[in-house]
């Protein structure tokens, strides 16, 4: 039985990891729900975000500025990807959509590898995030706490966009019944571009924020993508609240398991998914029949 400080530390790690997964999965799930495309380039885009911030920080000291510029870059990348490739596949079978986004992912990762090599890079923790904070009897890295707070704000903004803006209204209605949205006079295809770009920005931001915590390599996003698939199955395909809650649950499962036995931490998540598939395949918030 692990000690209390160890458990608490892992609980916080779980929050940080969970927040990250929630952000990654939110992007994935709204793209899936709105465009119907399962984006297999999601992991590569995570890495692109991390490398973007790595590059920008060569030219500026301000992490916040790097985040902002990085966002702009991801937005542009998302635009280009949708306009040049993704839009060709809206009427094609799901398998083809998976295949082409997988190909995009390969190309992105190889571009990174070509530009930066395969060795791990280091992104320095921002000056305001250095050191550790005292939380009762626990001493915990400050940046990770800030990470949780920042992602919480980002998810809140995404929530506000989805539930308080006209565009979000259209997106939510479009996930439910795209045909009816057209009958009400709205050209849903125009929303696709924006939704895809937002999804790309979300996962890119996750990569940017995660970069100081871990070694930055071209393949760093693959495992996150696999985990985010489990999260959206857990939360329900196309559901934003499902992605957030599912992400937090997934993060806690991984981290708390590792407090007990670190070799099973990843495996537990997939075992949970297997269980879910048998008992409740539509997940927490998904609708039956969307399978």
């Amino acid at each position: 039985m692990p000690s209390w400080p160890a458990l608490l530390s892992q609980a916080f790690n779980g929050l940080a990891l969970g927040a990250l997964l929630a952000l990654v999965s939110s992007g994935l799930t709204i793209i899936l729900g709105t465009l119907g495309v399962l984006n297999f380039a999601h992991g590569a885009l995570f890495a692109v975000g991390a490398y973007a911030v790595f590059v920008i920080l060569q030219y500026t000291q301000s992490f916040v500025l790097a985040l902002v510029i990085g966002c702009g870059f991801m937005l542009l990348l998302g635009f280009l990807l949708e306009r040049i490739i993704i839009r060709l596949f809206y009427n094609r079978p799901h398998e083809d959509q998976i295949l082409v986004t997988y190909g995009v992912g390969i190309v992105l990762v190889e571009c990174i590898r070509a530009a930066f090599g395969g060795n791990a890079q280091r992104v320095p923790t921002p000056s305001w995030g250095q050191g550790a904070t005292q939380l009762g009897f626990l001493i915990y890295p400050t940046y990770r706490l800030q990470l949780i707070a920042i992602i919480a704000m980002l998810l809140l903004s995404l929530y506000l966009v989805l539930y308080r803006t006209s565009m979000g209204l259209v997106v939510r209605a479009g996930i439910e019944n795209p045909g009816m949205v057209g009958i009400l006079g709205i050209n849903l295809r125009r929303t696709f571009l924006l939704v895809f770009a937002i999804g790309v920005v979300a996962v890119g931001l996750a990569g940017m924020l995660y970069a100081p915590v871990v070694a930055v390599t071209p393949d760093m996003g693959a495992n996150f993508m696999a985990q985010s698939f489990v999260v959206i199955v857990l939360g329900g395909l196309g559901s934003f609240p499902g992605a957030v809650i599912g992400g937090l649950i997934a993060g806690e499962i991984i981290s708390l398991t590792s407090a007990f036995n670190s070799s099973y931490s990843e495996v537990m998540l997939y075992a949970l998914m297997a269980l879910l598939l048998v008992l409740r395949p539509q997940g927490l918030f998904g609708s039956e029949g969307r399978v």
Binding site: A173, G185, I186
Partner: protein, 234 residues
């Protein structure tokens, strides 16, 4: 020139040939009823007009402008609005959000208050999500979405189906008021009595063909005219 001219359209549903050289016209301010047994092609006609199903041949003209083959969103923005048979209320959105999204692209959108005057029940339920509404309330919301767009021509697909007689009576009153105001409507209905109580003219459809055209008054006075497209065996 009629507001709507449907000229010899042939529409397929998948491989199935549903409409055969179908022609109807609708004048400004008229209420036209499309009657017939199901499978006759009434819903397909409405869908062809709205652009949900593009006709394979023939033409449809709105105010003289050809619209066959245009996407539904374009036709909606010309002032046509379909209230589908399945109502298609957005279950995850509230009543107010359903109305808001309907009003988004409408240049002369009604105010919420004006809509609530027609359907007071919706005002009580405005914060409820679509999936919690009863059948009658959903039908009201579906019609309200067409109204808030100030649609020039409303296509009603079986608006009274599956509703309790009291609710049908209320909706018929709303429909008659709209007709009296001069709003153009096409109604598809199996409840003949209800349809005829506010329609001006009637088309009878059978197996994708128009087999009858006349005034509602004529049909009410001589019901045996309806026998071969509505009745049981000739």
């Amino acid at each position: 020139m009629s507001l709507l001219e449907v000229e010899r359209i042939n529409t397929l549903y998948g491989d199935s040939h549903v409409l055969f050289d179908l022609s109807i016209r609708v004048e400004q301010g008229e209420v036209v009823a499309l009657l017939g047994r199901n499978g006759a092609g009434k819903t397909t006609t409405l869908r062809s007009i709205m652009g949900v199903l593009a006709p394979n041949s023939g033409q449809i003209r709105l105010d003289g402008r050809p619209i066959a083959g245009l996407p539904p969103s374009a036709i909606a923005n010309m002032g046509v609005q379909l209230v589908p048979e399945e109502r298609a209320v957005f279950g995850g959105l509230t009543v107010e959000e359903n109305l808001r999204i309907a009003a988004l692209t409408a240049p002369n959108a009604w105010s919420f208050e004006r809509v609530y005057e027609v359907f007071p029940r919706l005002k009580e339920r405005r914060k409820s999500s679509g999936r919690t509404l009863s059948g009658g309330e959903q039908q009201m919301l579906a019609i309200a979405r067409a109204l808030i767009r100030d649609a020039r021509m409303i296509l009603l697909d079986e608006p009274f189906e599956g509703l309790a007689p009291l609710i049908v009576r209320d909706l018929v009153t709303v429909a008659r008021n709209l007709a009296a105001e001069g709003r153009t409507m096409i109604v598809v209905e199996q409840n003949i009595a209800a349809a005829l109580s506010f329609a001006n003219r009637v088309y009878g459809l059978n197996n994708g063909h128009v087999v009858f055209e006349g005034t509602a008054a004529d049909l009410s006075a001589n019901p045996e005219l309806a026998r071969d497209f509505l009745g049981v065996a000739s």
